[in-house]
């Protein structure tokens, strides 16, 4: 499966042959600038991405905790998600996301 990621500079990066379980891990493994500091246990809020609208409805909705954290991350938009909460499954082949500005170390 593959995932398409627009980085903070708007550059499109294609991630192929993914072995990672979550979107956060896949993005991090590709060496893109995504912090994901808590390793995916929903404690840090540093794995913020925007989901391409075509994919939004394909995803399991955010949990209450995820929603609470997104509420206070910088620049939340309607299509904001924490990428560590998105499990990569075959159905998401072609998933397209954009890294939020504050999701990476500066």
């Amino acid at each position: 499966m593959k995932v398409l990621v627009y980085d903070q500079d708007g550059k499109l990066v294609e991630l192929n042959e993914l072995s990672s379980q979550t979107l956060m891990e896949a993005i991090r493994d590709a060496g893109l600038n995504l912090t994901g500091q808590c390793g995916g246990c929903m404690s840090c809020g540093t794995c913020h991405v925007y989901i391409d609208h075509r994919w939004w409805t394909e995803l399991e909705p955010a949990s209450e905790t995820e929603d609470a954290m997104l509420d206070v991350v910088e620049d939340r938009r309607e299509n904001s998600r924490l990428s560590c909460q998105i499990k990569l499954t075959e159905e998401l082949d072609g998933l397209t996301v954009t890294l939020a500005l504050n999701s990476g170390f500066v």
Binding site: Q37, C41, A68, V73, D75, L101, N102
Partner: protein
């Protein structure tokens, strides 16, 4: 001739020094030498999901493909036995030598051991590495009565994981409450109730006197005052101690950790250190207390990586920490050391937040089940002085204060906030 950066250690700090040095344009050789057999992996799950689910799965911080793509050499399962001062040469446990130009110590800490009669028995466990976790996980599967010594984060997380598997868990703590060194009494009380609610026995103000058993297996734990606890397994969670052997050989300045400056430099030129093995002062850590967390290991290592690559950078990041027990999410923004006053408030999600002040400035917010409060606090405390009055004005609603301040785009560090400000004004 090419230069070489030798990184000793194989966890958060090691991995981050290497990858950030590369990100900052360092293109000399990099080698990471780690005693552990696994690629650098996530430690927090070892006392949480790992024990609960018996998954036996390590979660690497970065994939093998990442290191090879970045041309970072990994020498796993190999210990650095010694470093020859002056010659810039390290002796490895596989008998080879590595000569380096720059050295980074990311050797972390080890679990503190207790020396008392019977403490070396087979069914006594410590928890620091995946290897420890595998042993403990296997042993706990068949155990019924568990005695946890130490009511700190790791002890309580283990207690939580095992109590949820319906083991009979007793926690023995020498202080008069759990988490005494690390959180306020209000938070400790909240966490304690959850443990008691799950049937865990918390014995405070009690110390272990000895272990009684046979054939190298502990059967009973004797406490001062005469109490005797039956035990199938015993787990120690009594803190950690930084690994100081190499620092000692190198003659580095250390005191309960290698002393580093805000650029991760030790007292010797070309020797850097980051993570659990260090101690440092910063605007967020005026007392220079040891900070052992993923956040610290990662962020401090990034500074080391960039300075090694020749890019100036200082480590002045707000510390933050988390712990998961049962359905409690404990999150801490800032350090409460040196606080003169604290105020506790319930969170909207049936949790609790405790605000710590030093001379009127909020320096730390601890919350249980207040993820919104935590993220808001981190964003605010990282960049500006928040006064008690400002918090009172919004009835201690951190997210509301955050929205009120209508801050420029966020960052986790003061530097970043400043950078953002200059960006905004130069646009």
């Amino acid at each position: 001739m090419r230069q070489k950066l030798l990184i000793v250690g194989g966890s958060y700090a090691a991995s981050e020094i290497a990858s950030h040095a590369r990100e900052c344009g360092y293109d000399e050789d990099i080698i990471i030498v780690s005693e552990e057999l696994e690629l650098p992996y996530q430690r927090p799950p070892l006392s949480k999901a790992y024990l609960k689910e018996h998954t036996q799965k390590v979660m690497p911080l970065k994939s093998a493909a990442f290191y090879s793509a970045k041309n970072i050499e990994l020498e796993l399962g190999t210990k650095v036995l010694g470093i020859e001062r002056g010659a810039n040469t390290a002796l490895l446990s596989n008998g080879t030598h590595v000569t380096f130009d720059t050295l980074a110590l990311a050797v972390g800490a080890r679990a503190q051991r207790l020396l008392c009669t019977g403490a070396d028995a087979k069914n006594v466990y410590y928890l620091r590495s995946i290897e420890d976790a595998r042993l403990l996980s296997a042993a706990s599967a068949g155990a019924e009565k568990v005695v946890v010594i130490g009511g700190g984060f790791i002890g309580l997380e283990v207690a939580s994981a095992l109590a949820q598997q319906l083991k009979q868990v007793t926690v023995v703590e020498t202080q008069n409450r759990v988490l005494a060194r690390v959180v306020s009494p209000e938070i400790a009380e909240f966490v304690s109730s959850a443990h008691v609610g799950h049937g865990v026995k918390l014995l405070t103000c009690r110390a272990v006197q000895s272990f009684v058993g046979e054939n190298g297996v502990v059967r009973k734990v004797l406490l001062d005052g005469g109490t005797s606890l039956d035990a199938d397994i015993v787990i120690f969670g009594i803190g950690s101690a930084p690994n100081m052997e190499l620092a000692q050989q190198l003659g580095l300045h250390f005191e309960n950790g290698i002393i580093v400056d805000s650029r991760s430099r030790t007292s010797r030129a070309n020797v850097f250190a980051a993570g659990d093995c260090t101690r440092f002062f910063s605007p967020f850590n005026l007392n220079g207390i040891p900070v052992e967390s993923v956040q610290n290991a990662t962020d401090q290592a990034r500074v080391a990586g960039s300075v090694i690559a020749g890019k100036d950078n200082v480590y002045e990041t707000l510390p933050w920490f988390w712990s998961d027990q049962y359905d409690l999410k404990l999150q801490i923004a800032g350090l409460a050391v040196g606080a003169t006053e604290r105020i506790a408030r319930p969170t909207v999600t049936s949790g609790i937040s405790v605000f710590h002040f030093r001379n009127d400035a909020c320096i730390c917010v601890e919350s249980v089940n207040g993820p919104r409060e935590h993220i808001a606090a981190r964003r605010l405390l990282a960049r500006e002085r928040i006064t008690k009055q400002q918090l009172q004005d919004v009835d201690f609603d951190m997210p509301a204060l955050l929205k009120l301040r209508a801050l420029p785009t966020d960052g986790e560090s003061v530097n970043r906030a400043d950078e953002q400000k200059t960006k905004v004004s130069s646009d």
